[in-house]
Assembly symmetry: C2
Homo-oligomer: 343 residues x 2
C-alpha cells in the first residue's frame, strides 16, 4: 500500500483548525478558527506527515473542555486534537520512511510534524485506509475492549447498545453478534433503526425518540439484559438500568445525551439498582488499553476480512467542515463514522 507522494505536488500552506475558546458544553463551530500557516519543518527525530483523513470523535468534546478529565485539555490557539491517517513526506527518524502511512495524533490540519509517540499504528493491516479510523481506530478499539474486557459477553447474553448505529455502537453490536449475543440497539430515528437491523445485524432495534422505551425494552428482553454498552447516559441509561438482570455489566463508554456537566444535571438516584441487581458498572477510556491496540487491530481486521464486521463512513470534504463536525456528531446527523478529508 505505501507509495511515494512527491512533496512538490502539494500545497505549500498548512490549513489548521485551532481551538479558539473553551466550549460551553458541546463544541460548536464558533469555538474554532481556521488559519493558514507555513508547512512545518520536522526537527531532529521528527516526521512530517501529509494528513489524508482526519477523525471526528465524541471524545473531542472532553479534550476541548477545561474541566478535569482523563487527558489534558487542548491548549487554546493550537490545532484541535484529532486522530488521523497520513503519509510520511519527510522523516528525521530512522524507523520511518517517506511514503509510509501512519495512523495517530495528527490534529485537524493539512500537515503535521510528529514524534514517534504521536504514532498509534503503522498502517500495515490489509484494510482500506479509512478503516484505520472507522475500524481499528479509536471507535473500533473502544468497541473491542469495552465489550470484551468490561462487558464480558457469554453466548446467549442479551446485549443492549445505545447509539447503536454510531461509529462505536455499530461495531459493538456486530462484535457482540459474532460472540453469540442477542443484540438490541437503541438509536434516534426509524431510518437508523432499520439500518441497525439490516446493516449491523441487530436482532432488535428501537427508535428511542418514538417513546415508551421501558415497554419496548421489556418486550425486547422479557428476561432482562445481561450487558448494557452505554454511550449516552441520562434518561436512556436510567430506563435501561431498570431492565438489567442480576449480575449485569454496564459499560459506561460515553455520556452523549448530557449537554453540559457544569453544574451536574440531576437524575434519579441509581445506587439501589446497582445494589439489588448486583451490577458491575465500569467506566471505559480506551487509552487505558494502549499497550494492547495491536491485539484489537488484528482481531478487528480479521473479522472485517471474514465479512463479520462492516462500517459506514460519513465523509466531509475539507477542513472547513471540521469546526461544526462535533456538534453535528452529537446531534446525530451523521451516518457512520465521521471523517474529514484534507482536500
Amino acid at each position: 500500500m505505501p507509495c511515494d507522494i512527491p512533496a512538490y505536488s502539494l500545497p505549500g500552506v498548512n490549513h489548521q483548525v485551532l481551538l479558539a475558546r473553551r466550549p460551553n458544553g458541546i463544541p460548536v463551530a464558533a469555538d474554532f478558527t481556521m488559519v493558514e500557516t507555513p508547512v512545518p519543518v520536522p526537527g531532529e527525530g521528527e516526521i512530517l506527515v501529509r494528513n489524508i483523513y482526519l477523525s471526528v470523535d465524541p471524545a473531542q468534546r472532553g479534550w476541548a473542555s477545561a474541566e478535569a478529565n482523563y487527558s489534558a485539555p487542548v491548549p487554546l490557539g493550537t490545532p484541535m486534537r484529532a486522530l488521523g491517517v497520513g503519509v510520511v513526506l519527510k522523516s528525521h527518524h530512522p524507523d520511518y520512511e517517506p511514503g509510509e502511512f501512519l495512523y495517530g495524533w495528527l490534529g485537524w490540519q493539512d500537515y503535521a510534524v510528529i514524534g514517534e509517540k504521536q504514532i498509534v499504528h503503522r498502517a500495515k493491516e490489509d484494510i482500506p485506509l479509512a478503516g484505520f479510523l472507522a475500524l481499528i481506530g479509536i471507535a473500533g478499539t473502544t468497541a473491542y475492549f469495552g465489550l470484551t474486557e468490561l462487558g464480558r459477553p457469554k453466548p446467549g447474553d442479551v446485549l443492549l447498545v445505545s447509539t447503536a448505529a454510531g461509529s462505536v455502537g455499530s461495531l459493538v453490536g456486530q462484535l457482540g453478534k459474532s460472540l453469540g449475543c442477542r443484540t438490541i440497539g437503541l438509536t434516534g430515528s426509524d431510518e437508523k433503526a432499520e439500518r441497525c437491523r439490516t446493516r449491523f445485524g441487530y436482532d432488535v432495534a428501537i427508535n428511542y425518540r418514538a417513546g415508551n422505551l421501558a415497554e419496548k425494552l421489556a418486550e425486547a428482553a422479557p428476561e432482562g439484559i445481561n450487558i448494557f454498552f452505554d454511550n449516552v447516559g441520562g434518561a436512556i441509561l436510567d430506563t435501561a438500568l431498570r431492565h438489567l438482570k442480576v449480575g449485569a455489566r454496564v459499560v459506561q463508554c460515553g455520556t452523549a445525551s448530557i449537554g453540559a456537566w457544569n453544574p451536574p444535571p440531576m437524575g434519579p438516584r441509581n445506587e439501589r439498582e446497582i445494589l439489588t441487581r448486583r451490577l458491575i458498572w465500569s467506566g471505559l477510556i480506551v487509552f487505558d488499553y494502549i499497550d494492547r491496540y495491536g491485539e484489537a487491530a488484528a482481531e478487528l481486521s480479521r473479522l472485517y476480512k471474514a465479512g463479520k464486521l462492516s462500517y459506514e463512513l460519513d465523509v466531509a470534504g475539507g477542513l472547513a467542515a471540521a469546526p461544526g463536525a462535533i456538534a453535528a456528531l452529537y446531534a446525530g446527523d451523521n451516518h457512520g463514522k465521521m471523517i474529514i478529508t484534507t482536500g
Copy 2:
C-alpha cells in the same frame, strides 16, 4: 460449647414479632405486632430451636418491603425474617441433636421450627455465641466478601468506609487494615469517630455531620481513594465519588441514607465520574456468596482469635425491643452490632 437445655425449664409460650403491614420506607415499631402462640411442634425432618440471640440488620428493611428486591418480601402476618443463634431442643432430623447450637433463619420469636435449609452455620467455631451474629454472621460475611471480592484491596490502597463504626463498616475497616490498607472512616458523631480510631484502628475518622466533607476527604486522601465501601448512598456517596482515583472500586453494600425509594430521590448524575475515573462500581448482596460462607467464617474467626478483629455489641433485652430496632439502627442510635435477647 453445646449443652443440653431441658425444655421443661422454658416458657410454654412463643412470643413472636409479626410484620403487620408494609412499611413506608424504614420499618417503624407500628409496622409490627407482638403475639403469643403455643410453642410449635416440629414435623418430619424438622427441628425445634430455642432462640437465644436474634439479629437486627439493615437488610431487614428490604425484606419487609413489597418493592422488587433480591429476596421475596416477608409475608404480612408472619414473624419478621431475622437471623439468630439458638439451641436445638427437639430434632426430627437425623443430622442434628438436642443441645446443638445453630445459626440461621430463626425469625423474631422465642422458638422456631426450621428445616435444614434455614440453617446457615452449625455453631462449631470457637468464638462467643454472639459472635455468630456480630462476627461471622451477615455483617462479617458481608464485610469479608464485599471487601475481598469487590473491593480487591492491595497493600497501600486507601480504603474509605461509610457507617464506619457500624456492624459491617467496623469489620471492613479492620479487615482492610489487616490487608495493608490505609483506612478512612465516615461516621455520624465525634464520639463514633473517636471509637473508629481507638477501637477499630482507622487511620482517619471523619464525622460527616460536622460539615465540609469534601475538604476533609481531600485532606485525608490528597492522592485520592482506591476503594469506597459504601453503606449509605446519597450525598455522601456523591461527594466520595469525586475523590476517587482512576480505577477505584466502589462497593455498594447499602443505601442507608435514603429514606424511601418510591419515588426515587434525585441526585447529581454520576455517569461522568464512572467514565472519566474508570470506576468499577459493584452491587453487593452477601447471599450470592452462600456457598462460601464457611471460608469467610474460618478467616474471620482466625483474625478474631489472633486479636486483629473486634466487634461491639448493642444488646436489647427482650423481643419487645424488636419492633423499633430497625428504625433505631437507621437513626444510628446503636453502638455496635445490634442483637436482641429472647429473655
